[in-house]
């Protein structure tokens, strides 16, 4: 169905990784705690309490706004009450921001395929508190308030996304960004990144904005992709059949993978927003703002572009190496220590260091193997002091022991063996032990030489100089 295009805007809620909640000192992370352990009179909305804003919440939200190129990070912003009744919202209102959010404007670039980029405009970034959790057990509804008051930052986009796939890509890049700038773990499975999607369709190429529907509670990237795709399909079907689209609020049921119409929620006016009387405005002076922004690192896409430019890396390498911030730092530090070709370091990173990271389940920044270790290993290999096999083994040995590669090579006798007479003796024995393979070789299948080399490598525990061994076999087999 090419004649329609989708018009999609997202509201993403990101749980900030602060130690305490937004308005009280309760622990923010309750992932491993039983229900209702991290609660107090403030976050359960008992009468007579007063909220006090967590400084770090403002700082992390400002970082996100800056990373999304906000046009204006407001020197003065206000908290507001959003009034509605739901059992997991004990106060009867959520403290959020409304007419004067922390930041307005900005954009977030989402790379698509083949070098294209979707620039998604950001309308606003604001802070608010999370609600509790309703757990349904049989017919019972049980409420856990641990999540109540966990800080959220919400980023609202303009309707600039054009497909379910772009929605998924946006979320993947957003997750990368929040981890990169250190404001959230962005783990969707833990509900740290959630999104609502506003969807409408229109004839491809037109500029009109048609009636939209809203899908609530998209809690994984797969769910977002599947649900948005399903809703686009439904709207196209309805429109093609001449039926109207209604402003519905839809709920995505992850188990049955279906959209169900929610009983119509309150409209915006029904929330009766007003300025939060229990909290004074957030004043972000120039000096504080500068202090916060000093901690803003080079952003992932900028670093990716610089890796291509500065180190002449292929796009593919640059993309992988900037997937996670400590990995990109590991790469650059290794180059600094090594001094040789960046592509050589990149190959080691992409094949072997990433394997190590995956196997150990850690970030590059947490490895015991440090950039100067990797640089030393590559140097040893360049200088033909060790073989490639030994170099690969060294990565694990350094990771396990934290010792320097050079001292491991010395102590374990891993230096490359280039003693020709010793290698010749080994090679001759291999030929004596394997008359069948010798016949095969003489019969014209010369590739079997690789197998012979392999035998010597095995017997030398990977230390034999493989080029030299090959040479020796070529000499021996000619005779």
């Amino acid at each position: 169905m090419d004649e329609y295009e989708a018009v999609i805007g997202l509201e993403t809620h990101i749980q900030l990784n602060t130690n305490s909640k937004i308005f009280c000192g309760c622990k923010a992370d309750s992932w491993e705690d039983p229900p209702n352990r991290n609660i107090c009179p403030i976050c359960t909305g008992l009468p007579g309490v007063l909220p006090v804003l967590n400084r770090t919440v403002v700082e992390k939200a400002v970082l996100l706004a800056a990373a999304m190129h906000a046009e204006s990070i407001q020197p003065l912003s206000y908290l507001a009450r959003k009034n509605y009744f739901y059992p997991d919202l004990p106060k009867g209102y959520q403290i959020s921001q409304y007419d004067e959010p922390l930041a307005r404007g900005g954009y977030f670039d989402v790379p698509l395929t083949e070098g294209a980029t979707r620039r998604v405009r950001i309308e606003k970034v604001h802070i608010e508190e999370d609600a509790g959790k309703t757990i349904r057990k049989n017919d019972r509804r049980l409420i856990d308030f641990n999540r109540c008051g966990v800080p959220l930052v919400e980023a609202v986009t303009s309707p600039d996304l054009r497909s379910a796939d772009e929605v998924a890509k946006y979320l993947i890049r957003l997750r990368q960004l929040v981890r990169w700038i250190g404001i959230s773990e962005g783990d969707m499975e833990k509900g740290q990144l959630r999104c609502d999607a506003n969807i409408s369709i229109r004839p491809a190429g037109s500029e009109e904005l048609n009636t939209k529907t809203e899908i609530k509670n998209l809690n994984s990237i797969d769910a977002a992709r599947t649900a948005v795709q399903a809703e686009i399909g439904r709207q196209i079907e309805e429109t093609s059949a001449g039926r109207a689209i209604h402003t519905w609020t839809l709920n995505w049921d992850e188990e049955s993978e279906t959209l169900t119409k929610m009983r119509s929620k309150e409209t915006e006016a029904d929330y009766r927003y007003f300025r939060e009387p229990d909290l004074l405005p957030i004043r972000l002076e120039e000096s504080w703002r500068e202090e916060i922004l000093a901690a803003l690192p080079e952003l992932p896409l900028d670093r990716r572009a610089r890796f291509v430019e500065e180190y002449k890396l292929p796009e593919y390498d640059a993309e992988i190496l900037t997937d996670e911030r400590s990995l990109s730092r590991f790469f650059e530090e290794t180059i600094g220590k090594y001094g040789g070709a960046a592509k050589t370091v990149s190959n080691w990173m992409m094949n072997d260091v990433l394997r190590l990271i995956r196997e150990r389940g850690v970030h590059a920044g947490d490895l015991q193997l440090r950039p100067h270790h990797l640089a030393e290993i590559i140097r040893l290999l360049d200088d033909k002091k060790i073989t490639t096999n030994v170099a690969k083994e060294l990565l694990d040995k350094v990771q396990d022991s934290g010792r320097s590669p050079r001292s491991i090579v010395e102590e374990e006798g891993l230096a490359q063996v280039s003693d020709e007479s010793a290698l010749r003796t080994l090679a001759e024995q291999v030929l004596v032990d394997n008359p069948e393979q010798v016949e095969t070789y003489k019969g014209g299948k010369t590739t079997v030489i690789g197998w012979f080399v392999g035998q010597v490598m095995k017997q030398s525990k990977g230390k034999a100089n493989p080029q030299m061994v090959r040479q020796i076999f070529e000499d021996l087999l000619v005779d």
């Binding site: 130690n19 000192g25 609660i39 359960t44 804003l53 009744f85 757990i135 509804r141 049980l142 409209t267």
Partner: protein, 98 residues
């Protein structure tokens, strides 16, 4: 600027109040009178006065991000009409059409 009875019903619903037909009539009158009274403020010319959200110094006090012990959960759960598995048990939510 009088309120209609439909508006009063809607507001009552948002506030989760159940009104009798007599109360609906009475509150339509009373709320309209209150609104009209408040609307008199509009007669003051404020075009040269900047909007004021608060008369207090414009600065929220901020708290360092340090966790402090929460309240023992039994103490807070003691307020619940019904507790199940360490959680507040609530009646099923009826979705109502505002």
């Amino acid at each position: 600027m009088g309120l209609t009875i439909e508006e009063v019903r809607h507001i009552a619903l948002l506030a989760r109040l159940r009104l009798t037909p007599e109360e609906e009539e009475r509150y339509t009158e009373q709320l309209s009178a209150i609104l009209e009274h408040a609307a008199r403020l509009k007669e003051v010319d404020t075009s040269h006065i900047p909007p004021t959200a608060t008369v207090l110094p414009l600065r929220a006090p901020l708290r360092p991000d340090e966790p402090r012990p929460s309240t023992p959960h039994k103490q807070i759960l003691a307020n619940a009409p019904q507790v199940k598995e360490g959680m507040f048990r609530v009646p099923p939510v009826l979705d109502v059409e505002p």
